[in-house]
């Protein structure tokens, strides 16, 4: 894989990739942070650039979001908001135990999570970043912890309710 990098003084910087699948991708990062993604045709020979097929212009935010998706980074939770991953009906979500949540100080067994909701808790990451995989029934919820849960959409909805209200 080989990116050809060139300066475009007065405009920005250009990156050109001839992909293994035989297509040309040209990325121009403008000085004003705008990104242009060009899909180019091949010219007279496969290595040469031809005409433009399409162009997508992204601003700074969008470019970062796209980069994260393309790079596979959005699957990592950021511990600030919930992210969800869907696998044919099975949902994996990161839920945060809010400071006012009624489940704080209570255990998994006490709330009877598995029986009441059908969802399971796969792992918990505490506020201080210590991790606990497959926590047992005597695990006590703490404020600011992030809970990784798996289940169907409805089950997870119930679980959210249970965690925040302490009951269904």
């Amino acid at each position: 894989m080989h990116f050809k990098e060139t300066d475009l003084p007065g405009i920005g910087r250009k990156y050109w990739l001839h992909t293994r699948s035989g297509e040309h991708l040209v990325i121009v990062i403008h000085n004003d942070e705008r990104r242009d993604l060009f899909h180019m045709e091949s010219g007279d020979s496969p290595e040469e650039l031809g005409d433009m097929v399409s162009l997508v212009t992204l601003d700074d935010d969008e470019a970062r979001a796209v980069a994260a998706i393309v790079g596979g980074m959005t699957y990592k939770p950021t511990f600030q908001d919930e992210r969800e991953v869907m696998l044919e009906g099975l949902l994996i979500e990161w839920l945060r135990i809010e400071p006012h949540s009624e489940s704080i100080g209570r255990t998994i067994g006490e709330l009877n999570i598995r029986q009441a909701t059908g969802a399971v808790i796969l792992a918990v990451v505490e506020k201080n970043r210590t991790k606990q995989f497959n926590p047992g029934p005597d695990y006590i919820f703490t404020a600011g912890a992030t809970v990784v849960v798996a289940g169907e959409r409805d089950q997870i909805k119930l679980l959210k309710q249970l965690l925040s209200n302490g009951r269904l």
Partner: protein, 401 residues
């Protein structure tokens, strides 16, 4: 009654309005800023409290325009570093040389044809040799051509052209502004100006470590103040050595362009460049009396034709040198046709040196025509090429058939 701020406000409003209209019409804004400046001024009417003559404020608008040149060239320097030019490759350097050579020669030709004196001829050469970086960069982005392989060549050649013009201006200021009369004293002033530039760039390069350290400032306010201090002191000091302040600003930009903080500086300077730059074009228009332009029409038309022809030639040569298709080569030549800020700076030097007034009128018409025609030629260059290719095919068909 002090109406200064209100008058400046009206000027800015006019500039903004024309800018919005020309953006809507998808034209380059620069010629429109000049046109609106020409439309108002001492000959314009006064409507109520809206004084379009800009009598009270003209001095201040002129000063803001002067700052505009400084910011435009400082920014240019940040973007166009000498090391980038060196890296850009031999094809671009040779192509750039052909470009500068052909355009300069067409200036000499025009001067000879119009029987202009030496100083005027050299100013005309400068006006005709300087492509507008601002217009070209904008047109390339607008036409979505930044991904094309010829874009590097175009911007590289412009960089070469700008640096050549910087040297030309410094020699010219020695000749035109210093008031030196004998050949020897002119030579001395020009050489010392050149020496100052070269020394400044070399020392600046050597000192960049220390400048980097000095610019390690967290507060954006103090950072900006430091950069401004460097810019204004160097630009102002250059003037005392008969190096135009604009070139001083460019030099400071070239030095800071090598700094680790270059992109932060660019970011902070950009709003100043945009604001004062627009006022610069407006204030240039303000100094023009439209009725005086008629006399320069003939000369301008010849100059425009010469420029297009020499750009076509230079584009073809530069394109061939770097293995471009004829179509891309035509793009190179036609994209570089736009003229703008540097030509005007050149004309201003002529004015400051008390050269023939017709040079000023020539510069206005020339820039106005090419600032409009340049982007159009750039846009239509693929169409022109296809017409040309068809014509050639037909000719060939006749020959063989």
């Amino acid at each position: 009654m002090d109406m200064l701020i209100f008058e400046v406000g009206i000027a800015v409003a006019l500039i903004t309005l024309t800018g919005l209209i020309s953006a809507k019409l998808r034209f380059s804004v620069i010629p429109f800023y000049i046109l609106i400046g020409m439309a108002v001024g001492p000959h314009a009417p006064q409507i109520g409290i809206v004084d379009l003559r800009f009598i009270e404020s003209s001095e201040f608008i002129e000063f803001m325009g002067r700052l505009g040149i400084l910011f435009l060239l400082f920014y240019l320097g940040l973007e166009f570093s000498v090391s980038r030019l060196m890296k850009s490759g031999k094809a671009i350097l040779t192509g750039g040389m052909f470009y500068v050579g052909l355009n300069f020669a067409s200036g000499l030709l025009l001067g000879w044809f119009m029987e202009l004196p030496l100083k005027e001829t050299l100013v005309v050469c400068g006006i005709m040799t300087s492509s507008s970086t601002a217009i070209v960069a904008k047109v390339l982005v607008d036409l979505k051509r930044t991904a094309n392989p010829e874009t590097e060549i175009i911007m590289g050649m412009i960089m070469f052209d700008d640096l050549f013009i910087a040297i030309h201006i410094s020699i010219l200021t020695g000749l035109v502004l210093s008031g030196a009369t004998s050949f020897l004293s002119v030579l001395l002033v020009s050489l010392s100006a050149l020496l100052f530039i070269v020394l400044f760039l070399i020392i600046g390069r050597k000192c960049i470590k220390y400048i980097d350290k000095a610019l390690n400032i967290k507060s954006s306010e103090l950072f900006l103040l430091t950069v401004m201090t460097l810019l204004f002191l160097v630009a102002g000091f250059s003037e005392t050595l008969h190096v135009a302040e604009a070139i001083g600003a460019l030099m400071m930009g070239l030095v800071l362009g090598e700094s680790r903080h270059a992109s932060r500086i660019e970011h902070q300077i950009m709003p100043f460049k945009d604001f004062f730059g627009a006022i610069f074009f407006f204030s240039f228009g303000l100094t023009i009396e439209p009725s005086t332009l008629g006399g320069a029409v003939g000369m301008t038309v010849i100059a425009v034709i010469l420029t297009i022809a020499s750009n076509y030639g230079a584009g073809m040569i530069a394109g061939r040198l770097s293995g471009m298709s004829p179509r891309a080569s035509l793009n190179v030549g036609f994209t570089l046709v736009s003229r703008g800020e540097f030509s005007i700076i050149m004309a201003n030097i002529g004015k400051a040196g008390g050269l023939m007034a017709s040079i000023q009128s020539f510069a206005v018409l020339y820039v106005l025509i090419l600032a409009v025609l340049g982007p159009i030629l750039t846009k239509e260059s693929p169409w022109i090429y296809s017409q040309y290719a068809r014509l050639r095919k037909r000719m060939r068909g006749k020959e063989t058939g």
